[in-house]
Every structure is written in structure tokens, then in C-alpha cells.
């Protein structure tokens, strides 16, 4: 790695031996032989700059363009790519800590096949041929005996594209990402029902120009999505009005003009009261509402009883604060934005409702398609690689008839259920790419039971995470810093296409996903879907067909498209992909399916006496549990403590920093966790960061560190509209560590 070892010895030598030695020293450590400046000794150049390769980050799923510096086969540092619209040269701590993943000593480096019981973490290393042949044989047999639909594929991450293509070619419809039903689903459905479009990822929020922003729980800053936090900071610097609704005094709350410390689970009441004020006082955006919405009269009648006083009783807030904030929102229209949220699977039946309530408010404020609100860009026009049509597949097994009618994607927990009860048809195999289902799905016992019922479990990952410990076959993938992926499109103010390319070779025998998918395809008679010999042939063909210069992409990492109109102010016209072709304040589709056509508030069940609602969130230094083993990021603030109100902790006899365990309503006990006694949270809830408490022994740094919140999610509340699993319905009591 070239740390400045024995620097003083080298300098001494070079001084003593003259120019020849100085030249030799310069070769070993470039920059060390730099001449000194003015007063004082030489300038230390740590020599971390090296050969630069542009690529795309994937520590989280924002996909910022990066520039990685390489010396030999080590990545010395990763910076943001100034040319990429999402990073603009800046980067979050996790992307900056990328080398910690590439050079993680616990990386999977060989294909492994299980020798002990599922979960015993006992494997033997095998050759790629043996592993791939085994998988192909089993999958072929399953297709023959049960049909291709008997295979469920779970995935997260852009690298899954090859495998989604493979399994669509294989013929299964059961391709699911937990990011839908366990994360963004309710808001995507809520916005789709209202505006006919989803907020997107990255969310198409013109935050730099927002004049009043409402965050419902969204803890921007701790939720550190690069571009969005950049825009958020600019908004605040420009004097934008920030209103934060959160039971916890988050970093975002600390920057707000008003922090509303709301009772957990009552956000919809607040949103309805805001609608009430804005409509009763006629503060809505006339132009947008009169020309582009459907159902105003019904909505006015519907929210009549939802006064600030009514909402104050439900939320624990002051009615004048509710009025005041509603008026401030309205005063900033149309550059007034209720953030759609990102992870919104909180309380079940409230989730799509709450998302729709936010969407409706945005419609009343007129921010859809307006500067400072939602901008509506087109993505880059990219030609697909020619492929034979996929075979006709059955309906997915994740839902029974009538269940979750508005889901936009298969439900991960539904596929798990089908694995267990064989309805509507049996699932015999799981293929898992880049998602640690043990921590990403709630109700862990169900997941473990389902796994035991499988004929074949294949896990493709870069690290030996918990789900890998249950696999029959583990395939080691090259990390995002070591592989090509498909062209990465960006739908943004100026859309772009970026290239992910290898910065360093993968460790051991780890292989990129495109190679694994291709090898499997050719072993299962699906070679027609992967006719190209290597990924560069594929990428060049796509680039040529899309009139993109591949060489430019390789050297710059990204090609940015021209400016485009994205708002009404730019001359864009508004189009809504809804039945009424307008923004639907009143949803006939929901009514027909037996749901409330407009958001209705249901009071949530509170914690039993002695219990606290368990809330969870993120810290900027980590991405879920994916980065817990990254030793570089481990040096940052870990946030692996349990937030509890100072006085509550005191009354229970706990001191700040003391170790406790949580026991949930079903008697499940957590790992030990340190108490953070703080004023920054309400007394009726506790809060912790998700992603700690790993048990996989192969994660030598992460194993045993902190506590796992997902273990305590034994109860979920399912949203009947789209099947999302609300997870903030678990309550915990605290005990001193045994």
C-alpha cells in the first residue's frame, strides 16, 4: 500500500547520498522528494493520487458517478465525478469509503457448496463449473417437474439486471425486490394513484428552488442520499422554510424553522388537517386545482371535520402550530413540497393512505410539474440489446386473487408465503442476488421456515452475509468496483447515461454478474438470450445502437444529455396517466376496489404500558446492513445506540451509555445495545439505526456489533391496498443486560 514507512530514514538517506539517492527515493514514494517551500520543511504528499478510472458507485442505490484512484491493485481513494449530475464532484461518506468494500478481507472469493445443515455456515469450496452445473441441473429439473414459476428470484441493486433477464427468459414471473413491499411501495402506489407517476429514484424533487419543504419522518442528512442532501443544503442556505414532522429531533429537524414532535402513527391526521385549512381558507393553487385535478368538491366535504383541533388531539401537537404551518406551506405555493418519503412501510393500512395524503396536498399546492416541486424529466433514450421474446409466464405467486390489488411489483413476503403453503402453486427454489433476506424481510421465523422448505437456495453476494449462511450454493460476485454492469440511465434535470467499469480486479475467483448469468444461461439452453461473448461486446452494441460513444463513456464515466423542459415554467405541458387524465384527489379506482377513495385516518394502537414503539432509521455512515463490515466506515460514528428520552431512562434507572436488551411484545430479545439518554426524542418511543446486530460469523468485523432491529419485527401490519409490510408496529420494553 505504500504508507510513508520509515519516511525519516528515507529522507535522511536521500539527503546523505545526494541526487542519485533522491531520484531513487522519488521513484519509491512520488512526492516525497518535492522541494521545500519558503519557511520550513518539505510538503508531505501522501501520494494517494493515482491512475483515475471513472465509474458508478453502488454502496447505496443512488448511483453517483465516481472517480477512483488506483495504485497497483489497490484503490487509494474514491471521489465524486464532477461530470455526473448526481454527484457534481461530491460524495457521501459511504461512497468515499468504497475501498473498504473492495479490500474487505472477508470477501467471498470462491464458489461454495453447503456441507452441513442449512444455516450451519459449513461449506466446501468448489470450482465455478461444479457450482454452475449443479445450479443449472437443479433449475432445469425444477422447470421440468414444477414449471419455471416454481423459482423465485429476490434481488436488490443495479447488477441484478442480468439475472432479471435470465429468469424472465427462464420463464418465472416471481421476480421480487424487497425495496417494494418492505420500503418504497406505498408511496409509489399512492403517487401512481394520484398523479399517474411515481416519485422516482432519485426522487424528482426540485429542492434547490423549494420555498417551503415538509418532511414527514424523512431524516434528510442522516438519510444521506448525495444529491438530495446537496439540494437540501442549498434550499436551507437560500432561506427556504423547513417544517419537520418527526417524533425525534433529527438532524433535519435541527435545521427546521418548525419541528413538530408528532405522536408516532398519526401523521395522516396532520396531513388531513392541513388539507382542511388550505381548502377552508381557500389557500390552494387555483390554476393547478381547477385545471388539473379531479374530485375537489368531494375532498372539501371529506376534510370538513378534520380541523386542527381534531388533529391536535390525535397528534399531540398545538392546533395553532398546525394552522400556522398549513398557511406557510400554502404561502410558498407552487414551490411548496410535502416530501413523498422513501422508506414508508410504517403502519400498514395507513401507508398508501399517508402517501396519497401527501400527494393530494402537493396537488393542492400545485407543486407537481412546477419549479421548486416535482420536476418531470425524460430519461435518456437507450436502445435495448436485441433479445428473443420472453416465454409466457403464469401470474406471480405472491398474491392470492383479490389481495393487494394495486401492487406494482411482486411482494417479497408473498413469495415467501407461497413457498410455505404452496398456494397458488409451489415455489421450490430461491435465487437471491444482493439482498440479505434475513435482515431485509421482517418476521424472520417465517423466512427461516421457508428456506428449510426449498429444494435449492442460491445466493449471489460479495460478502458472507446471513442469507448466504443458509444457501446451498454461494456464488461470489465482483463488487461494483470490480465489474462492468449494464448502461446506467439517469432520469434527471439533464438526463445521462453512465458506465460502471472495473477499477481493480476482483479478489480470488469472484466473478461479475454478467458472466455468472451468461454461464447459467448457456447451461440451461437459454444461450439465445446471452448471445454476446463478453460484456464489452454487449455494451458497445447498445452504445452504437443508441448513438453513444463508448470510448467517451470509458474515459469520462458519463455522458450527459441536453437541457430539457421539466416544469411548467420551462414550457412543459402536464399529462397525467390516470383514468380521469387529471391528478385524482378522489380516486374512483380505489373506491371500486373497496377502499377509501380519499385518505381516512385510523388511530394506531399505542404501546402497552411499560413498552415503547420501536422506531428505526439510518445513519449517514452506513447503508442498511450492507456496510456494517466495512472497516473504514466502522471508524465513523456508528450510531449503534438506542435513543430513549433522558427522563424516561432516568426513571427506569438506566444511565447514558449503559448496555440494555430490548424485549418485544412477542418475547423476542435483542442483542445488547447501549442506551443513548437524550432530550431529542419523545417519551413514548425508542429509536435505533437499522443494519447492526449481524450474526454471520464470516463477517468478522460486523458480527456481534450492535443490535438488530429487524429481529424484533415479529409483527407486521400489511397494507391491503398494495401489500406493503408496515414494520413500526412492534413495541419493546427494556431490561438491564443479563
Amino acid at each position: 500500500m505504500g504508507s510513508p514507512l520509515s519516511f525519516s530514514r528515507r529522507r535522511w538517506l536521500s539527503m546523505g547520498a545526494g541526487t542519485l539517492a533522491a531520484a531513487a527515493a522519488a521513484r519509491f514514494a512520488p512526492g516525497l522528494a518535492r522541494p521545500s517551500l519558503a519557511s520550513g520543511g518539505p510538503i508531505q504528499d501522501p501520494g494517494t493520487s493515482g491512475h483515475v478510472i471513472a465509474s458508478v458507485c453502488e454502496v447505496c442505490f443512488w448511483k453517483c458517478g465516481i472517480r477512483a484512484h488506483v495504485q497497483g491493485d489497490r484503490i487509494t481513494k474514491v471521489e465524486g465525478n464532477p461530470a455526473h449530475p448526481l454527484s457534481g464532484g461530491k460524495l457521501c461518506p459511504r461512497g468515499t469509503g468504497g475501498p473498504g468494500i473492495a479490500h474487505d478481507p472477508d470477501r467471498l472469493v470462491k464458489p461454495l457448496m453447503r456441507v452441513g445443515d442449512r444455516g450451519s455456515e459449513q461449506f466446501r469450496p468448489v470450482s465455478w463449473d461444479e457450482a454452475l452445473d449443479h445450479i443449472a441441473q437443479k433449475l432445469t429439473a425444477i422447470r421440468r417437474e414444477h414449471g419455471p414459476e416454481a423459482v423465485a428470484m429476490f434481488n436488490h441493486g443495479f447488477g441484478a439486471s442480468w439475472f432479471k433477464h435470465l429468469f424472465a427468459a427462464y420463464g418465472t414471473p416471481n421476480i421480487a425486490a424487497p425495496s417494494f413491499a418492505q420500503c418504497r411501495g406505498p408511496r409509489d402506489v399512492g403517487y401512481d394513484l394520484t398523479f399517474g407517476a411515481e416519485p422516482g429514484s432519485p426522487e424528482v424533487l426540485d429542492l434547490r428552488n423549494t420555498r417551503c419543504l415538509v418532511l414527514i419522518g424523512s431524516h434528510l442528512g442522516e438519510n444521506m442520499h448525495n444529491t438530495q442532501v446537496q439540494d437540501f443544503a442549498e434550499m436551507i442556505a437560500k432561506g427556504g422554510d423547513l417544517i419537520v414532522v418527526d417524533p425525534r429531533f433529527s438532524v433535519a429537524a435541527s435545521k427546521a424553522r418548525t419541528w413538530l414532535p408528532i405522536r408516532p402513527g398519526t401523521d395522516t391526521a396532520l396531513l388531513l388537517a392541513w388539507m382542511h385549512v388550505i381548502l377552508a381558507e381557500k389557500r390552494y393553487d387555483r390554476d393547478f386545482v381547477e385545471n388539473h385535478t379531479f374530485g375537489l368538491d368531494q375532498l372539501v366535504a371529506h376534510v370538513a371535520p378534520f380541523t386542527p383541533e381534531w388533529a391536535a388531539a390525535e397528534t399531540g401537537l398545538d392546533p395553532e402550530d398546525i394552522r400556522d404551518t398549513a398557511r406557510r406551506l400554502a404561502a410558498a405555493r407552487p414551490a411548496a413540497l410535502v416530501h413523498p418519503g422513501r422508506h414508508v412501510t410504517w403502519y400498514g393500512s395507513d401507508d398508501t393512505t399517508r402517501a396519497r395524503a401527501g400527494a393530494i396536498l402537493n396537488a393542492l399546492l400545485g407543486s407537481w410539474g412546477h419549479r421548486g416541486g416535482f420536476f418531470l424529466p425524460n430519461g435518456p433514450k437507450l436502445a435495448p440489446y436485441p433479445s428473443p421474446a420472453y416465454p409466457e409466464a403464469k401470474s406471480p405467486a405472491d398474491r392470492l386473487p383479490g389481495e393487494a390489488p394495486f401492487a406494482l411489483e411482486p411482494l417479497s413476503q408473498g413469495l415467501r408465503r407461497a413457498t410455505l403453503d404452496g398456494k397458488p402453486y409451489p415455489i421450490k427454489s430461491w435465487f437471491v442476488y444482493g439482498t440479505n433476506l434475513i435482515q431485509s424481510l421482517p418476521q424472520r421465523e417465517e423466512t427461516l421456515k421457508a428456506i428449510q422448505a426449498l429444494d435449492l437456495l442460491v445466493v449471489v453476494d460479495v460478502l458472507p452475509v446471513e442469507i448466504a449462511g443458509y444457501a446451498d450454493v454461494i456464488l461470489p460476485e465482483a463488487s461494483y468496483l470490480e465489474r462492468y454492469d449494464d448502461l446506467i440511465p439517469l432520469k434527471w434535470h439533464r438526463s445521462a447515461v453512465a458506465l460502471r467499469q472495473p477499477v481493480v480486479p476482483p479478489p480470488g475467483e469472484a466473478k461479475p454478474g454478467w458472466w455468472i448469468a451468461r454461464e447459467l444461461a448457456h447451461r440451461m439452453d437459454l444461450g439465445a438470450y446471452f448471445p454476446w461473448k463478453d460484456v464489452k461486446e454487449y455494451l458497445r452494441a447498445r452504445c452504437d445502437a443508441s448513438k453513444i460513444d463508448f470510448a467517451t463513456l470509458e474515459s469520462e464515466g458519463v455522458i450527459v444529455g441536453p437541457s430539457q423542459p421539466t416544469t411548467v415554467e420551462d414550457g412543459m405541458s402536464l399529462v397525467f396517466a390516470t383514468p380521469t387524465q387529471k391528478a385524482e384527489l378522489y380516486s374512483e379506482r380505489l373506491r371500486e376496489a373497496g377502499f377509501d377513495p380519499m385518505p381516512v385516518y385510523k388511530r394506531p394502537a399505542g404501546p402497552p404500558p411499560g413498552y415503547f414503539r420501536l422506531l428505526y432509521g439510518r445513519i449517514p455512515a452506513q447503508t442498511f446492513g450492507r456496510t456494517a463490515n466495512n472497516r473504514q466506515l466502522g471508524e465513523l460514528s456508528r450510531g449503534d445506540q438506542l435513543w430513549i428520552h433522558e427522563k424516561v431512562a432516568h426513571d427506569l434507572g438506566f444511565t447514558d451509555g449503559e448496555t440494555v436488551v430490548m424485549v418485544n411484545q412477542d418475547g423476542v430479545t435483542s442483542e445488547p445495545i447501549k442506551v443513548k439518554a437524550t432530550e431529542r426524542i419523545r417519551s413514548d418511543c425508542v429509536y435505533m439505526a437499522h443494519g447492526w446486530g449481524h450474526t454471520a460469523r464470516g463477517l468478522r468485523y460486523a458480527c456481534g456489533r450492535g443490535a438488530d432491529d429487524s429481529k424484533l419485527m415479529t409483527r407486521v401490519a400489511v397494507d391491503p391496498v398494495m401489500g406493503g409490510t408496515g414494520m413500526r408496529v412492534n413495541f419493546v420494553t427494556l431490561r438491564k443486560e443479563a
Partner: protein, 314 residues
């Protein structure tokens, strides 16, 4: 009414583990350096006030042992250096604002003064050696002619040696406990006291013993005054300083500081010494041993307790 403050830092874990930068090597050097300074000051004062005839056998032994003790102390300092290969850098420059730089040069001056004084004073074992090395005899002749000047040089060097360590601590800024102008004088007084005590351990001459005992009582009294001034001065300087002092007088270091430094190292030997001067108790080795123990522990406590509370360790 204190405002409620919660502090968190990226390096909370590191801060909590303790950021001690100086270990046992420093108090050991401070003790030995102070002792040698006290020795030199005492012997040189005797030479100036009473002439070379007033120098007893014990004092000559002290002069002989001084460079050995000093070298041990400097050895401890050397062990403390994290980059020992660069130790010669101390002697390529003189930084007048850096007590450590001044101190390292003073240390160099002390050796030749001590050596010349040892040679200058009459000493039977030395006579025997003289015959074998003629250059030694020449040096001796030179030294004997300069005894008064050497004594003054020794007085100055001893004073500098005795006071600079306290000054060094007080010009650092990180530890509120050391931010006191009294520290220099406290270490000087303590150094004198331990130097006198060391001489008392080997002194056989009764008259000299009595003189040393009287000097020691005065020095103990001075030390107690200076300790009081140090603590009271800090306690009135502000909240961080009060917190630093509390570690010493009511925190984890209190038992050692109050029990072994104040009582065991100052009050008890002071009382015993007074009694023996009044003839009500016999002169024994107990008193100087207690003083030496107290001197060593004082330095340990000052150095370690000082690092417990820093400005940034909130």
C-alpha cells in the same frame, strides 16, 4: 443552573478510552531531574557560602551520583520519544520559546559542570586515579582554580534544571491542571527538597545533617504553600480548571495525592523533622525516604491527573 448539553463526536470512543500522551517516563525524569537540580543547588550553595571546606563526603558522593541519576532520567526521556532516531535533532537548534529545547541544552551544560566540580573537590579515591592520567591532573588544576565560578555556574544550571520542567508543563495548553505559573516554583522547591533528602540519606556529618534538616523543613513549608497556591489559583480560574483540580482533590487521584503526597510526603516528614530538630526524636532515614517518595508521587500525580481533563475532552 447549567444548560443541558449533549456532546457526541466521531472520536467519542477514542476520547473515552483516554488520550494520555505522556506515560511513566515523564514523571520519572521529572523526579530525577528535580533531585539532581536540588543536589547541585545545595552543594553549590554550600561552596559559595562556606567554601570548599564545607563540602562533606556525602555531598561529594551526591555530586558523583548526580550525573548517573541524571542519565537515568534522560534515559527515561529517550524511551518516551516516539521517533528515537531523530533524537539528535534536539541538538541541531535552540528554540528560545520552547522550554523543552532550553531544557535539553541545560541538561548538556549540567554534565561538564558536575564533572569539573567532582574533580575540583578533594577526594581520596580520586588521588589514586590522578597519577595514571596526566591530562586529568591538568584538568583538575584548572578546575580547582575555578571552583567559585563553577559553583555559580552550578547554581545557575541547577536553578534552570529545577524550574524549567514546571515551566514546560505550564506552557503547554492542553491540560488545564498545568496552566499555572506556580508549577515552575513548585517543582523547583520539590526538587530542592528531594535533593536535600537524598543527601540526608547518606550524610554522616552531624552538623551538616542538622543544616539539611532545617533546610528541608523550610522547603516542605514552601512546598505546601506553593501547592495551596497552585490549587486555589486553578479553582478560581473557571469551570474547566475546577474540573481538572477536582480530579486531584476529590477524584480518583485524591487518595494518592492527599494520602501519599500531602500527608506522607510533606506533613508527616515535616512534623518528624521538626521533632528531631527539637531533640524530641532521633534523626533517621524515615524522613528523607518519605520526602523522596512524596516527590516521586507528586510528579506522577501531576502528569497523570493533568491528562485526565483536557479542554477538548468535554
Amino acid at each position: 443552573m447549567h444548560p443541558h448539553v449533549e456532546m457526541e463526536s466521531t472520536r467519542s470512543a477514542v476520547l473515552e478510552a483516554g488520550l494520555r500522551f505522556w506515560g511513566w517516563e515523564i514523571p520519572v525524569y521529572l523526579f530525577l531531574g528535580g533531585l539532581v537540580a536540588g543536589l547541585m543547588l545545595t552543594v553549590c550553595a554550600v561552596i559559595i557560602l562556606r567554601g570548599r571546606e564545607g563540602v562533606t563526603q556525602a555531598m561529594r558522593l551526591g555530586l558523583l551520583g548526580a550525573p548517573v541519576l541524571l542519565s537515568l532520567g534522560m534515559g527515561a526521556l529517550f524511551l518516551d520519544l516516539a521517533l528515537k532516531l531523530n533524537v539528535f535533532r534536539f541538538y541541531l537548534t535552540l528554540r528560545p520559546y520552547a522550554p523543552m529545547s532550553l531544557g535539553s541544552w541545560v541538561l548538556m551544560l549540567v554534565y561538564p559542570v558536575q564533572a569539573l566540580l567532582v574533580i575540583a573537590l578533594p577526594w581520596a579515591p580520586l588521588e589514586r586515579v590522578m597519577g595514571r592520567f596526566p591530562w586529568l591532573a591538568k584538568l583538575r588544576a584548572f578546575a580547582q582554580g575555578q571552583v567559585d565560578r563553577l559553583a555559580w555556574a552550578g547554581l545557575l544550571a541547577g536553578f534552570a534544571l529545577g524550574i524549567y520542567t514546571g515551566v514546560l508543563l505550564s506552557t503547554t495548553v492542553a491540560a488545564p491542571l498545568w496552566s499555572s505559573g506556580v508549577l515552575g516554583f513548585l517543582f523547583l522547591a520539590s526538587g530542592l527538597s528531594t535533593g536535600v533528602a537524598a543527601l540526608m540519606l547518606v550524610e554522616k556529618d552531624h552538623a551538616s545533617q542538622t543544616l539539611l534538616a532545617k533546610a528541608d523543613v523550610v522547603l516542605i513549608g514552601l512546598e505546601l504553600l506553593l501547592l495551596g497556591g497552585w490549587i486555589v489559583g486553578l479553582a478560581t480560574q473557571g469551570p474547566v480548571y475546577r474540573e481538572a483540580v477536582s480530579v486531584l482533590i476529590s477524584g480518583p487521584y485524591a487518595p494518592v495525592f492527599i494520602g501519599f503526597v500531602i500527608f506522607g510526603g510533606l506533613l508527616v516528614p515535616g512534623a518528624l523533622e521538626t521533632l528531631s530538630l527539637q531533640g524530641r526524636a532521633k534523626h533517621s532515614r524515615t524522613v528523607p525516604s518519605l520526602v523522596l517518595m512524596g516527590g516521586l508521587l507528586l510528579r506522577f500525580v501531576v502528569v497523570y491527573a493533568g491528562q485526565e481533563v483536557t479542554f477538548y475532552q468535554a
